[in-house]
């Protein structure tokens, strides 16, 4: 896994409000895995750590912490959902 890449992260709901934008770009060297991405985002935006949960989605699927990330992936932070 190369870290010589940038990542675009889509933000929804309260994470969009916390970060202040609906898409954030992390320049190279970007986090290589979901776990690293979450750690990096929580470092930059401590309010994310106060949420009940914050998952990461990769290409429309919930991703585990060890899942690698690629520039072409559609990546999103997923705060607690509340549909229905």
């Amino acid at each position: 896994m190369s870290k010589d890449m940038s990542l675009k992260i889509s933000l929804y709901g309260i994470t969009r409000e916390i970060v202040g934008t609906s898409v954030i770009e992390l320049p190279a060297p970007a986090p290589a895995t979901v776990g690293e991405l979450l750690a990096e985002m929580r470092k930059q935006y401590p309010a994310l750590g106060e949420l009940r949960s914050c998952a990461v989605a990769v290409n429309n699927e919930y991703a585990s912490n060890d899942q690698p990330l690629h520039t072409v992936d559609e990546i999103a932070l997923i705060p607690p959902v509340a549909g229905g």
Binding site: A57, E61, I78, V81, A82
Partner: protein, 140 residues
Amino acid sequence: MIPHLSITDQPIDVAAALAAVQTEAAGAVNAFIGTVRNQSGGRPVRRLHYESYDSMALTQLGHVVSQAYEKWPMLQAVAVVHRKGTLALGDVAVVVAVATPHRAESFAACQYIIDTLKLVVTIWKREEYEDGTEWVAAHP
């Protein structure tokens, strides 16, 4: 039968969702209709806003419905329509409708779909009160 799944910013046509699942082979239709309540945890609600990550919401909804078809092979048809955007009190937020040949399974499958939808489908709700707004369930 291909399930009828959608996320829309237009008012939900409940009758159309019900019609989408009715067949002469299935004698039982169960439908759950979620509407906007005038209070939440005792606090008066003025209106609410749903935000959706559509492509993921539809992907996850597809998974939920596939799981329901696996659990209840007799399922004949499923429709799920979720509203997004700004909703007034009493507006329909979600409709789940399922059709089965027999009654008990229609209740079980419909309840499974709405319960699981609420856990995994990427839609967020912001309630608007007299004195502010809140993203529902966001904080412990």
